[in-house]
Amino acid sequence: MDTHATNLPDSAEADAHAPGEVEHAHPTWSTYWKVALILTLITVAEVWLYYIPSFVAGRGFIPTLLVLSALKFTIVVMFYMHLKYDHRLFRVLFTGPLMIASLTLLALMFLFGHLYIKIM
């Protein structure tokens, strides 16, 4: 965590000129539409899988959907919310709470009997 402090700007004056340096280097139209296409394709795949009864009845259905959903989640966060390109502080601020939230969800699923641990 203490690495945050390494990005100290030299002075307030240094900041003053930062907005001037408009640089067209961030992900552009070509990245954005490709991301949108991938997201759409994954969504189509999800809905398609939903309509295959044999797959829905199998063991792979729920894990597959969860993985696809997590994939979409990650793509939006990384590219559209540009966490991939942004200050790492934001990654800490997001993934920390996200992990605590996910673990809480998981714990509640165990506690209410929706998930089990098998003991011999």
Partner: protein, 229 residues
């Protein structure tokens, strides 16, 4: 890690107002919105957990994925979730995220020369803000349609555990979308009044972060509530 060029972009959107020194060289509003988004994770996890805990535990129908026969009247109630309609609304919300990033890019590059018609369309911040707001409103329209048709089919927030947890979860999400649309309309008003330029990038950036987060929550809801039986 990241390419040097990408860093410049970041410094640009997150830089604080000129005379304000900040420790990380970031604008405080952006730090705050990320903390807020982290907090919202816990909010939605509480809602989603409750939905999942109560899944399959309603004592009367209608149910989301199964048919239910009322033992007293013999009425047969079909599974209530409408996957085709919701898939369409999910697609609309996904597209709204695309429009949103284009709006942000347009504001960031406002002062750059536009050489072609394509450049001018991509650089039109009002167009993309409008598109995002319209997509968001369309999503809300789908939700209103879904809610009213559910009520017609006999599912209200009082009917059973599914009704209570479903309407509350998706209603909370809808309220977030509504707040987002209002935020976008406010940005549009500013754009019409004085024009959004690259110095306003941060205003659009934090709105975009919120908007995408609401989209991301829907991605989770769509899978956990609608697709998984």
């Amino acid at each position: 890690m990241t390419a040097p060029a990408a860093r410049i972009h970041v410094a640009h959107t997150s830089a604080p107002a000129p005379h304000h020194y900040t420790t990380l060289g970031l604008d405080s509003r952006k730090v705050a919105i990320w903390a807020f988004i982290g907090s919202e994770c816990m909010l939605f996890v509480s809602l989603i957990s409750t939905y999942l805990i109560y899944k399959g535990r309603s004592v009367v129908g209608p149910f989301p994925h199964e048919t239910w026969t009322d033992p007293t009247t013999g009425h047969v109630l079909k599974p209530i979730l409408n996957i085709p309609v919701t898939s369409a609304s999910t697609f609309v919300l996904l597209m709204s995220s695309l429009f949103m990033v284009l709006a942000l890019a347009a504001v960031q590059n406002k002062e750059k020369p536009k050489h072609s018609r394509g450049d001018r369309i991509l650089g039109n911040s009002k167009l993309w803000l409008w598109m995002t707001a319209i997509a968001g409103t369309t999503f809300l329209g789908f939700q209103a349609f879904e809610f009213t048709s559910f009520v017609h089919e006999g599912l209200t927030i009082r009917t059973n555990l599914f009704g209570s947890s479903f309407f509350t979860l998706t209603g909370f999400h809808g309220a977030h979308v509504t707040a987002g649309v209002l935020w976008l309309v406010t940005l549009l008003a500013i754009d019409y009044r004085r024009g959004l330029g690259s110095r306003d990038s941060l205003l659009v950036d934090i709105a975009a972060l919120y908007w995408h987060f609401v989209d991301v929550i829907w991605i989770v809801i769509f899978t956990l509530v609608y697709l998984i039986k």
